[in-house]
Amino acid sequence: MPRLRLPKATLALPAWVWLLAFFAAPVALIIWYSFGYKPGIFGTHANDILSLDRYAEALSPTFFTTFANTLWVGVAGTVLCLIIGMPVAYWMAVKVPVARRGLLIAAIMIPFWTNFLVRTIGWQIILSPQGWLSQGLQGLGLIDGPLEILYSRTAVLIGVVYNYLPLMILPLFVAFDRVGEPLREASKDLGAGRLQTFLRVTIPLARPGIIAGLLLVYIPLMGDYITATVLGGAKGNMAGQMVAAQFQTAQNWALGSAMAVVLILTILLSAAILGLVIWLASLPFRSHYRLRLGADA
């Protein structure tokens, strides 16, 4: 009996169709809208005359400031996550006994799985001028008046570092864990100091995890909307809020679409630059011999 040979991707067909219909098609639609314009007060978009004018508008000084601000928060937030997260991941993977690691991973992940909006509201309570932190710092004499952080860029920065830190710690932990004790011991036996071992053995071997962590934090952070809405106020404006405002309040879908496209391009371009910088920075530490860790490294 001849077996019926279905094409290889048949089982994936429903997912293909669904993602094309509700991811690719709508994104293509807003790319199309971004070449149009807003006709009059009541229309949201029109495409009978095509132009790049909406892109010029999206990059005009009024809105460009917001893109620049978003980029600043994105880069600063990602760097802070790396600085704060790396020692934690190293501690979990190297210093903590194996038996206790599962508990620590769970502890890192619980906040990550709590409602994003609700934990951001938690920070709104903590940072409020009448809050315990403000009163405590005043009581200790560290600040003169009430804490004036809420609704500023600093508050947004604290919020995004908090919200995306677990996304940095987890891949770093997996990467450090994979390097393993024997290689570090070998490096020490061959006369390398602890810092040298870290820079020349641990970091180069953990590089895929470091890159994964940087991307996992940077990409969602750049598109952030909730943290900026809850903690930002007017000064902490991020590109995500600006896009949303064009669709929800200004009803200018053409401009909002152009802003969304600019946001995606900014993320892709800056992630590429980040990758180039990491590659250049790692050149001095390149070893002559490549070591592959496991099949999936």
């Binding site: 429903p14 997912a15 807003i30 896009v243 993320i267």
Partner: protein, 305 residues
């Protein structure tokens, strides 16, 4: 000494820090070890701070969430008299369960296909999944809104005017990607020999899928399903764009309360929802652990990498 006891001692020995026998090294390391520990615990406190605040403030008897007045169960009782809140939570749970079932079904099929029918197409499919994962949610949100309005009103496909269905569409994108990753990762690590044996014994492909492939993938399927449930419960941005009045999910209710004024019962409901999410996650970890994954593998699975 009995055999089991020997094994127990061997296990204990491997569980200890392998470097511990070197006594001078231990003394030399203790300062930096302690610094690492202090830093780690400080970061854990930082991660838990706002959650503890929400837990405490969910017992706030005052009128506004942000001003703590007294300690009591009042906000929890207020929930009983607020049909809008009950409706929002119910919408969230219903759309979350349906999204999870749907995303798990088609994500599992895609994951199985990627692991068992590899080819050039897998590269393209993974590229689409990566695009779905890296596109900021706000972009998905603003692009889905005109799309569902177009399908529902201009093309007259009335199902797209249904609130729950719109939420399922919005929740599904990220969930499908996560389930596909997890199922693929599990099956890639398992040899195809059982499926080949089943085919050699004349089982038709569908039976092999039901009796062999699916049971092998089951821990990943369950983990993926529960993860998509929690992701859907959490989905705020896309939901706030596509939801229609009357079927407002819980996070969108909270987001509108951020603008109009937060009251303590928001924290109380969040506390209850936190407990629900934790139960789901404990279930995921338990399922993964029973199937023999280590803590590291569980972390990797849950981080979706």
């Amino acid at each position: 000494m009995s055999d089991t006891e020997t094994r127990r001692i061997a296990l204990e020995r491997t569980a200890q820090d392998p470097s511990s026998p070197a006594v001078p090294a231990k003394a030399r390391r203790s300062v930096s070890d302690r610094l690492f520990m202090i830093w780690g615990i400080a970061v854990l406190l930082f991660l838990f701070a706002p959650i503890l605040v929400i837990l405490v403030y969910s017992f706030n008897t005052g009128r506004l969430l942000i001003a703590f007045d007294g300690f009591g169960l009042d906000p929890f009782l207020t929930i009983l008299n607020k049909p809008a809140i009950q409706n929002a939570v119910s919408v969230s749970i219903r759309s979350g369960v349906l999204s999870a079932l749907f995303a798990t079904a088609i994500g599992t099929l895609a994951g199985v296909a990627m692991a068992r029918r590899p080819g050039k197409w897998v590269g393209w499919f993974l590229a689409v999944l990566v695009l779905v994962t890296v596109t900021p949610e706000i972009v998905d949100a603003v692009s889905l809104l005109p799309w569902v309005v177009f399908l529902g009103q201009d093309l007259g496909l009335t199902i797209f005017n249904d609130g729950i269905f719109r939420l399922i569409v919005g929740n599904s994108l990220f969930s499908i990607a996560v389930v596909s990753y997890i199922v693929r990762a599990r099956l890639v690590g398992i040899s195809e020999s059982l499926e080949e044996a089943s085919a050699d014994l004349y089982a038709p492909p569908l039976r092999t899928f039901w009796r062999i492939t699916l049971p092998l993938a089951m821990p990943a399927v369950l983990a993926g399903g529960l993860l998509s449930f929690t992701l859907s419960l959490d989905n705020t941005i896309i939901s706030s764009f596509v939801s229609v009045s009357g079927t407002t999910p819980w996070p969108v209710y909270v987001l509108s309360a951020v603008r109009s004024g937060l009251r303590p019962e928001i924290a109380s409901v969040s506390t209850l929802m936190l407990i629900l999410t934790l139960l789901a996650l404990v279930l995921v970890a338990w399922v993964l652990k029973r199937s023999g994954d280590s803590a590291t593998q569980i972390a990797r699975t849950m981080a979706g990498s």
